[in-house]
């Protein structure tokens, strides 16, 4: 079985044409990227605002309860409802994007909210103390400090979306899911297995890239890897200004 999958993965015919691995991988990456951009555009500002203002915490709970919605069922339902009103490829793409965005929003929202919420009150107070306005506090203190949790939310969303974007194939779209659906339909198990391996590999690579990006953008002061660790841990703040 493993040998047959390997043969499929390495044969030249698997790598060419519209049904070839490069094209399917590109489609898969395209759907995933579109979904993540839309989900981040919704969830990051919302999560940051909730964490910053302390208002609307119940939204995070509501969003988290969305995780219980089965994505495949939702996709079929959305297709049935939306398709009569849409034309061409959009009729298949839009339901799929909505279903996947709903999957991606909860982890990103939780990450953004929790990241901002968990910022050390001492740092926030210090920023106010040096005369920063709320907007500046958000941009220069809260957001950089929230990055590790925000990034992990994004990475977990990316992992889920890449793994789940295979369902696009159920509604007649492309992507790596085609290998799974077509492989099962034609009893071509090497193809099914090969497709599954590719999805897993793609998700792993995306997560590794995410980890590298995170390592670059997160301030060394937060990760404990910086040289100025000692100073960050014991900031010189006038007595009485610390919350703890």
């Amino acid at each position: 079985m493993i040998g047959a999958i390997w043969t499929w993965l390495t044969s030249t015919s698997s790598w060419s044409g519209d049904d070839g691995i490069p094209h399917r991988l590109l489609q898969h990456a395209g759907y995933s990227a579109l979904v993540l951009v839309v989900a981040a555009a919704i969830a990051v500002p919302l999560g940051v605002w909730i964490g910053h203002s302390g208002h609307g915490r119940s939204l995070v709970t509501v969003a988290n309860s969305l995780r219980a919605v089965p994505t495949l069922g939702l996709l079929f339902a959305l297709t049935l409802v939306l398709q009569p009103h849409l034309q061409g490829n959009t009729a298949f793409l839009l339901p799929c994007v909505i279903a996947l965005v709903l999957l991606a929003v909860p982890p990103i929202l939780s990450g953004a909210y929790a990241g901002v919420e968990a910022v050390d009150p001492a740092a926030r107070d210090a920023a106010k103390g040096v005369g920063m306005r709320p907007r500046e506090v958000l941009r220069h203190v809260e957001l950089p400090c929230a990055l590790p949790l925000l990034m992990s939310g994004l990475r977990s969303a990316a992992l889920q979306v890449i793994a789940t974007a295979t369902i696009a194939a159920y509604v007649g779209l492309g992507g790596l899911g085609r290998y799974l659906v077509d492989g099962i339909a034609t009893n071509d198990y090497p193809r099914t297995g090969g497709g599954a391996v590719l999805v897993a590999l793609f998700a792993l690579v995306a997560d590794i890239v995410g980890a590298l990006v995170q390592a670059r953008v997160v301030s060394p002061g937060l990760t404990g890897k910086g040289r100025r660790l000692a100073r960050v841990d014991h900031p010189t703040v006038p007595s009485g200004a610390t919350a703890s």
């Binding site: 049935l80 398709q83 009569p84 034309q87 298949f92 085609r178 659906v181 077509d182 339909a185 034609t186």
Partner: protein, 303 residues
């Protein structure tokens, strides 16, 4: 009583009726009733586990009862492998079948397509103890469906008519249609029909996509209820690319003479359109298949 059961079981084993003897046989209870049915002259009509097969079994049993033959049903037995075993071990005596698919089951290289040829070849392929009665005109086969509007706008009646217009059309079909010999390669080889784009979809999704215009032509079963509900038009497969899948009663030779006159009358009146309309009632309107079968028999003077 217990001793009698044991004796019957031993006798049955001795007679080789339990030759397939797997303990996991889901038809265990069916076998027990068969020993009594043989004595009481009850004919059991079995069926596969999909609604059309169940409906056909109800039609056969209803017609037999109306003709004064003591008949009962054992529906939803399972796949072909399972119900054929039930037929050979005597738990059931009749099952509804399809000519092409059954022939292919006994001969993996079967490639005849003409309805009469398929039927004749099937007769010679059947193992001893089994026979088929007359075939009906009703077929549950692959079909190419278009909406009424498309059929009128592009003057489509047969699959051949697609030749000039297919290039600008989208075909919707289950994923396997893309590679199967009777699928896209077959359409190109036999009819010279090549579609502009292919959209892999199946089941209700495919029906919806055809209805909503995301695909122009769809490969669905000829008895799909959507033919009745959505007014789709089936393009005639003039060159028999999809072969022949006529509905035919597969019966045990022990009861063949007794049931043939009745079931041949049923086959004579059964058509694809009637079958699709009945399936719409059982699958879409959720009516009881035996009630639908009874209506059909009454309407055709067999009830």
């Amino acid at each position: 009583m217990k001793r009698t059961t044991v004796t019957i079981a031993v006798l049955a084993a001795a007679l080789g009726l339990a030759a397939c003897g797997s303990t996991s046989n889901p038809l265990g209870t069916g076998s027990a009733s068969s020993s009594s049915s043989a004595a009481g002259g009850v004919v059991t009509v079995g069926s596969a586990d999909f609604s059309e097969s169940i409906l056909l079994a109800d039609i056969y049993a209803g017609a037999l009862k109306a003709a004064g033959i003591n008949a009962t049903t054992h529906t939803g037995i399972g796949s072909r492998e399972v119900y054929l075993k039930a037929l050979t071990d005597g738990s059931v005596q009749i099952v509804p079948e399809y000519t092409g698919a059954l022939a292919l089951y006994y001969d993996k290289t079967f490639d005849k397509t003409d309805p009469a040829q398929v039927y004749d070849a099937l007769k010679s392929l059947l193992p001893t103890g089994l026979t088929v009665l007359n075939r009906s005109a009703a077929e549950d086969n692959d079909s190419m469906a278009v909406t009424k509007a498309t059929a009128e706008a592009k003057h489509l009646k047969t699959v051949e008519d697609l030749k000039t217009v297919a290039g600008s059309m989208t075909l919707g079909a289950p994923p396997e249609f893309q590679t199967r010999a009777q699928g896209i390669p077959g359409l190109a080889r036999v009819y010279g029909v090549t579609f502009g784009t292919f959209r892999p979809l199946k089941g209700q999704q495919l029906v919806q996509a055809l209805k909503n215009g995301q695909v122009d032509v769809a490969n669905i079963f000829s008895t799909d209820p959507s033919y009745a509900t959505d007014g789709f038009v089936a393009l005639t497969d003039t060159k028999k690319l999809f072969g022949s899948q006529n509905v035919v009663p597969l019966v045990s030779t022990s009861v063949a003479d007794k049931v043939a006159p009745v079931l041949n009358k049923v086959s004579a009146v059964l058509t694809t359109v009637k079958l699709a309309a009945m399936l719409k009632e059982t699958d879409v309107d959720k009516k009881d298949p035996s009630a639908v079968a009874e209506e059909f028999l009454k309407a055709n003077g067999l009830g």
